[in-house]
């Protein structure tokens, strides 16, 4: 319980530091919302008036303290570009990114985990060799390239829509038609994130499977007459899954990074896209809001991955007394 409390505090610190950092960086950067809005041609008068209107003419410190005070009460301000509350905007886009990231993670696990079990438990034979080669290729195809290639394939074959999240008017035909429409738009961006990720998972799973099969208990299990396939898919799997569970916490960062690229390439209306637009327009409250949402996503994800790890490896479940450092926040 104390452990959990410490983790929650660490997560809160992470969110606070990241969003404050993003806000201050945007505020202190040359140029601001007003100057970006009107461009170089505008008169100093117009820009100054606009600046005053949005309260951008105050000192960075007072502006920051004001934001911090309101953020503590969960009021994240109003987006300068969209004229809508940041919380509302971010929540909607974050849900889109969450959906994409979750589906991608499921795809990656479904592809990578069995592949890793196969390559980790068998040395020779055509299947492990093919899987190993495939994984090396996928590992070398980062999301930017995968998504471009998938968009190319989609555009030429018309199998999938090349971008966006829903077609116009799909929801008019009812909830199911709307959901089906999203489901049609989802595979492409999700695969673009999932493919390189599945290769990473395959690598780790293969390694830890190999390690697990070298432990003494495998020999005793085999001696009891348990068939090799059952040893691999049941007995050795559970101890082998620990490192993969540990990786999930680490993967979240690359999941977010990958989702940014994919969101831009396939115009998926997610958090990454919003953050990028906010950064370009110097919409500082929106930047801070996106950063807060992103870091919250990270913190929660790391926590979940730790719980998953504890489930896979009971040795970790004993509540460590304050001695060990909790790892990265």
């Amino acid at each position: 319980m104390r452990y959990l409390a410490r983790r929650v505090i660490a997560a809160a610190v992470l969110v606070a530091v990241v969003s404050s950092g993003a806000l201050l960086l945007t505020r202190l950067a040359p140029g601001d919302f007003a100057s970006e809005l009107f461009g170089a041609g505008a008169s100093a008068d117009t820009i100054a008036r606009e600046r005053a209107r949005y309260g951008l003419d105050r000192s960075p410190v007072s502006q920051y303290l004001d934001w911090l005070g309101r953020a503590a009460r969960l009021d994240f301000g109003v987006s300068l570009v969209y004229h809508r509350p940041v919380a509302e905007l971010v929540a909607q886009r974050a849900a889109n990114t969450g959906l994409l990231a979750f589906v991608a993670l499921v795809f990656a696990t479904l592809l990578g985990l069995p592949a890793g079990i196969i390559t980790g438990s068998r040395r020779r034979g055509p299947l492990p060799t093919i899987l190993r080669g495939l994984s090396l290729v996928l590992l070398s195809l980062p999301s930017l390239i995968t998504s471009l290639v998938l968009v190319l394939v989609a555009a030429r074959t018309q199998w999938f829509p090349t971008g966006g999240m829903q077609s116009a008017g799909a929801w008019d035909a009812g909830v199911f038609a709307g959901l089906a429409d999203i489901a049609r738009h989802l595979p492409l961006p999700a695969l673009a994130i999932a493919l390189p990720l599945s290769a990473m998972i395959e690598r780790v799973q293969s390694q830890s499977m190999g390690d697990a099969l070298e432990m003494p208990f495998t020999l005793s299990t085999l001696a009891r007459g348990v068939p090799h396939s059952r040893l691999v898919w049941r007995d050795a799997l559970r101890p082998a899954i620990g490192p993969v569970a540990a990786m999930y916490g680490f993967v979240l960062g690359s999941l977010l990074s990958g989702s940014f690229v994919v969101e831009v390439v396939t115009s998926w209306p997610g958090l990454g896209r919003l953050m990028y637009d906010a950064l370009r327009a110097r919409d500082l409250y929106l930047v801070a809001g996106c950063a807060a949402a992103g870091s919250l996503f990270l913190a929660v994800g790391t926590l979940l991955s730790d719980l998953l790890q504890a489930w896979a490896d009971p040795r970790l479940r004993r509540d460590e007394p304050g001695g060990t450092s909790g790892g990265p926040a």
């Binding site: 992470l14 530091v17 990241v18 993003a22 960086l25 945007t26 202190l28 950067a29 040359p30 140029g31 040395r123 020779r124 090396l136 290729v137 590992l139 070398s140 195809l141 980062p142 930017l144 390239i145 471009l148 290639v149 968009v151 190319l152 555009a155 030429r156 090349t162 971008g163 190999g210 960062g253 690359s254 977010l256 990074s257 940014f260 690229v261 831009v264 390439v265 990454g272 953050m275 990028y276 950064l279 370009r280 930047v287 950063a291 992103g294 870091s295 990270l298 790391t302 790892g327 990265p328 926040a329």
Partner: protein, 322 residues
């Protein structure tokens, strides 16, 4: 597999160095009559089935509206090798340019842009890798050597940077700076930003080795012989990290190439006038054009090649068969 990776990487580096010789055209030259021209591959067999020295068929515009070209099989322009400082060029250049990988939106030679772009992309990535190594080795070395609160402080910062999704940090830092800058400034700025994001990986690896090696006899021997802190750290302990540092460098290189490509793709990197793999991919943000003229995606293949080479290089040898 390692020799394969090394060979692939060497090939790419060599191609970048030899760009002016390999590229038949200037990367900035625009052939107005050849917008989105398809690749013109060298041929050996003529239309009527005779073997001949390498030649290309000139392109003929079929449809101006769709920007569609066709090879004119009735004509053959022979290639000449090692003439006027080029590896291969057309013997008769008055009948149109040779575009081995096709042309882009403005009719520029994609091969030339790819080769000269390799100089930019690899250059940024290498400079950034060097800087990240320098920062990381210093930070990790000091942290591992001093231990205690210094170690704690440095590694906490490193861990914090490691958790953040790198793309956003790079994006935020780049977006915070003026957008339009001279290309040398973009170059060094990008390298600096990448190094700032990349150093913790190096630091973590170096720290782990140094913290162990510090307790070894040879380190104690060096101290008892009167070696100062700097001498022990840089002369005795860091050489033990060579393998780690090398592996980190090989992994950082492709990720920085990708970072450049990502930044330029979204329009925060090099402008269109500076050929780089990223600024070339930027054109692919127009989905329709990319679908009709897929050869504009060629820098993606180059990025894949470099990443594959790096992955082959660091791959662990297979476990002994059992």
């Amino acid at each position: 597999m390692r020799p394969l990776g090394a060979a692939l990487l060497a090939l790419v580096l060599l191609a970048a160095l030899a760009a002016p010789v390999l590229a038949p055209n200037d990367p900035g030259q625009t052939f107005r009559a050849y917008l989105y021209a398809p690749p013109m591959r060298p041929r050996l067999v003529t239309a009527d089935g005779r073997w001949q020295t390498p030649f290309v068929h000139p392109l003929r515009l079929v449809s101006r509206l769709e920007q569609r070209y066709e090879e004119d099989a009735s004509q053959a322009i022979p290639l000449t090798f090692f003439s006027r400082g080029k590896l291969a060029r057309l013997a008769d250049e008055s009948r149109g340019p040779w575009l081995p990988l096709g042309a882009d939106r403005e009719g520029r030679d994609l091969l030339a842009r790819l080769l000269f772009g390799a100089r930019t992309s690899l250059g940024v990535a290498m400079l950034a890798t060097l800087a990240a190594l320098l920062l990381g080795v210093l930070a990790g070395g000091v942290a591992g050597y001093r231990g205690g609160i210094v170690d704690e402080g440095i590694m906490r910062v490193a861990e914090f940077v490691l958790v953040l999704p790198a793309v956003y940090v790079v994006l935020a830092l780049r977006a915070a700076l003026p957008l339009v800058l001279p290309s040398w400034a973009v170059f060094s700025l990008m390298a600096a930003i990448f190094a700032l994001v990349g150093w913790p990986w190096v630091a973590r690896a170096v720290r782990a080795v140094v913290a162990v090696e510090r307790t070894r006899e040879y380190a104690a021997a060096a101290v008892s012989l009167g070696a100062g802190h700097a001498r022990v750290l840089f002369g005795h302990l860091l050489p033990a990290c060579r393998g780690q540092i090398g592996a980190q460098a090989i992994l950082l290189l492709p990720s920085f190439i990708l970072a450049e490509a990502t930044l330029s793709y979204v329009g925060l990197g090099f402008p269109d006038t500076v050929p780089s793999w990223g600024s070339m991919l930027h054109e692919a943000s127009n989905v329709n054009a990319m679908a009709d003229f897929p050869w504009t995606l060629v820098p993606a293949a180059a990025i894949f090649a470099v990443t594959l080479a790096a992955n082959l290089l660091v791959e662990k040898p297979d476990r002994a068969a059992w």
